[in-house]
Symmetry: C2
Subunit: 146 residues, 2 copies
DNA sequence: TATCATGTTGACTAAATTAGTAAACTAACG
DNA sequence: CGTTAGTTTACTAATTTAGTCAACATGATA
């Protein structure tokens, strides 16, 4: 079960936006790209996808940029993964249509297993918000200042 | 987070072997391949990998074949996924070496998040054994006999 | 011991997906 | 207007996944 670079980039971008959420300002793609070491041209696609999912909002034109569409405490890891991949778990059998012919094979029962795992993974991932992640980041950073 | 075809094939193969576990017999690759619709030549690799992970054992030569190395109740979904992918969650940052330069970026803190998610996903997946999965399969099949 | 049916191994190829790039377009601000 | 920054779509390159092949090793059996 691998997490794509795209999904991790998306998380890092949201994390960066979280830091700027207090000041109600927008931040440029370029700044996010530099600060989080994400290829800028790739980040363009990612931010648009986040925007379509309603996690991020944009302001166009000069003085434009991006900002979170809602509070970091209301954006979860699960939200971001789903925004990128469509679902938390992508597996062949889950996208297939149900058919009776494979009742005998393991396909049907495994499908139920994956759905179960996906639900429970959702509980985990929806419980992790960027508010918390950001605070953890602050905490681990502060160790270096002691 | 996608589950590879290989991993699902592996689960189906183990499920098939589970059915034959009572009778202490081996079953040929070809039979598993046919019954579970898995490309036989591909299944060869998968079974060897399962074997190296200690989940499956083989008997060579004529009358050879495969069997589970331990009881289905002692083989979990997590075991099989780990046997195929090495870890439950594969993400760039988890395989990278730790370095201090990215403390400021989101990489370090996200790494911890992924490890957390992996642990919790492990608890879920290690709790699902092929014994249970197989019983579920029997149950859903029996509905068709009523 | 010959032979045949099986598992073992590693190298190979093809297909699909992912990651990344480019360029033309649109909107906003000054 | 002109400049800055987001939008959209199409394209390419790199990587990974899926699948194949052929030569080899092993064990039962006649
Ligand atoms: S009947 Fe085939 S997946 Fe449910
Ligand atoms: S310091 Fe870079 S991932 Fe932990």
């Amino acid at each position: 079960m691998r997490v794509s670079a795209k999904a991790e980039y998306a998380c890092r971008a949201v994390l960066e936006l979280t830091r700027y959420h207090e000041k109600a300002e927008v931040i440029h793609i370029g700044d996010i790209a530099v600060r989080q070491s994400i290829p800028e041209k790739y980040l363009v696609q990612i931010l648009l996808q986040l925007q379509r999912a309603g996690l991020v909002k944009s302001k166009r034109g000069a003085t434009g940029g991006y900002a979170l569409a809602r509070a970091p405490g209301e954006i979860s890891l699960g939200d971001v993964i789903r925004a990128m991949d469509g679902a938390l778990i992508a597996v062949e059998s889950l996208s297939d249509d149900t058919n009776v012919s494979d009742q005998m094979s393991g396909q049907h029962v495994l499908k139920n297993v994956w759905m179960d795992v996906q639900d429970r993974l959702g509980e985990i991932m929806d419980g992790i918000t960027f508010d918390e992640i950001s605070r953890q980041a602050q905490k681990s950073l502060s160790m270096y200042y002691i």
